[in-house]
Symmetry: C2
Amino acid sequence: MNLKEFASRIGLSATTVSRAMSGYPEVRPETRARVLEAAEKLGYRPNISAQRLATGRAGAIGIVFQGGGRFGPHSSELMGGLSTRLQRDGIDILVSTVETEEEEMAAYRRLAASKRVDAVILHTPACKDKRITLLQALGLPFVVHGRSEAEKPFAFLDIDNFGAIAEATRHLAGLGHRRIALINGDTASTYARDREDGYRTALEEHGLTPDPALMSRGEFTDETGFRLTQGFLALSAPPTAVIAGSMMSALGAMRAIRIAGLSPGTDIAIVAHDDVFPYLSPDNLVPAVTTTQSPMRAAGERIGDMALRLLQGEPPEALQEVWPVELIVRDSTRPAPA
Amino acid sequence: MNLKEFASRIGLSATTVSRAMSGYPEVRPETRARVLEAAEKLGYRPNISAQRLATGRAGAIGIVFQGGGRFGPHSSELMGGLSTRLQRDGIDILVSTVETEEEEMAAYRRLAASKRVDAVILHTPACKDKRITLLQALGLPFVVHGRSEAEKPFAFLDIDNFGAIAEATRHLAGLGHRRIALINGDTASTYARDREDGYRTALEEHGLTPDPALMSRGEFTDETGFRLTQGFLALSAPPTAVIAGSMMSALGAMRAIRIAGLSPGTDIAIVAHDDVFPYLSPDNLVPAVTTTQSPMRAAGERIGDMALRLLQGEPPEALQEVWPVELIVRDSTRPAPA
DNA sequence: CTGAAAGCGCTTACAG
DNA sequence: CTGAAAGCGCTTACAG
């Protein structure tokens, strides 16, 4: 049933029905109530494509994931939060996956030109990010999960990666650890650069010199955590503590430590930075893992919120947040062996 | 730039341009080439909302997740595969999250009435599933990930849960295990019922009687795997083998075994059923875990494919697949202790 | 093979 | 507070 038919069935004009259903003020409350009730009863819903064509709004927000492979547990938490928030305003989420950065750029051009989305969510930005430049040039509104440098201000939500890793490093140094290894991500990404800066800063506060052999990079998988930790353990002066970039890296690190005949927590301390996963808790590992934790799901909800405000005309510079990260000390960080 | 403007710029009618861009046959190859080239150069893209209004197609496929909490690692794999496939045909994915089954039903009504999607993907069906009845009544095409009983045929892709767990159970029984525990999901769901059936069948083949104390149910989290396994170990006659419903359950089970002072693999054998996660491999656990594995991502791609065919008019009964599951024996299943 | 025109189902400026 | 009508940007049956 379309608007015209519905309107004539209840003896009103399409105009009035449309206004009543969109919550415009110029409709008498009784009329509005009658319209809404009838719509419910007769099962009328405005055709979304027609609505979008008429208003010029897409009613959807896009998010692009690069490499099916990177659509992992963090993506699902972010998506879950985003979806929860946008649902409330009837905004859809449009998911695209691409393989390369080129394809990602093409995807934004396509989304913008075909008016398929009103805004996009960008994640894991580089320190200088071409995608941000492109989106600003296209005039497609966007919110970044993370931070980046750009000429023009843009909306973003980031966590305090610097503070998180600095705090973790201080905690370990305070326990007497002198050789602290860091498993980081690609330092082209802002978050990884911030973490490295936090690590270096805290080491220097404690009079320790950063050792390149103890700073490695790779994907946040169990496999990579394992391999990098094996590398650390093979050093002539191996570390007594490892800061893992994610829970998955920490699992791999602990495995490498065990295989070397050592005991995680006792022989080699472990701190993991990670999200709060509903299905894998650091409290439940053996030993329980000290973490710098930040809930990705809550961030997703907030990012959804910010995107909606952006569309309502709030300026990007008013939509910038950095969330603190809490260090939660558990059993995997004990004093350094004598 | 809209169609009219673009068409006049290149000296053709809107009709011809539209046909050229949609790949209709009645356009001269040279004309088509010229149109496509000009569109690329001038950056013209049809407005997606207008296209949808004119054709009556939404150009999107919906998927609803119940409980933000259930949007976990399996969801992301499924989504990744789905997205990869649909991307190729320019079909969007619309993600909704809801809290209850009631809300999920309401979401389908809404999606159908507002013509927001052309089809939906339903997952984790119950043996008798109200959602399937609803979708059939609404006339909204759908593909089920899993199986269910219904009067009318519908499209589905399922894995052989019965065969997977039967095979795992046979493998353990063949190694001399007599007390084999099963960590299953909610048996209202078809997959969990099938797994239980496979388990019972294989036990009986080996002259073993299913023991209710060894059959438990719960979420597929590390925490639940831990708790249920602790329950098994507290029995007066504890099991010598555990079949875990997922990788996460297996992690929890292994932790419980270790905490009890036992050795996973040696004292208590472990088999896990699970997806192939790019970030957590059973080969990398200690001991390497025997699995019945099935790639969720590949299933997602195939389901996307099936949805597209459904929309092209293939009858649902021609779109039904059950994928075999392979048992991969690793180090966690050794002969039963004497 | 190409084009003029009606129609998809809404919203909203304008008029009352 | 309510309505008639134009317009959003496409597609496609019809005519040539």
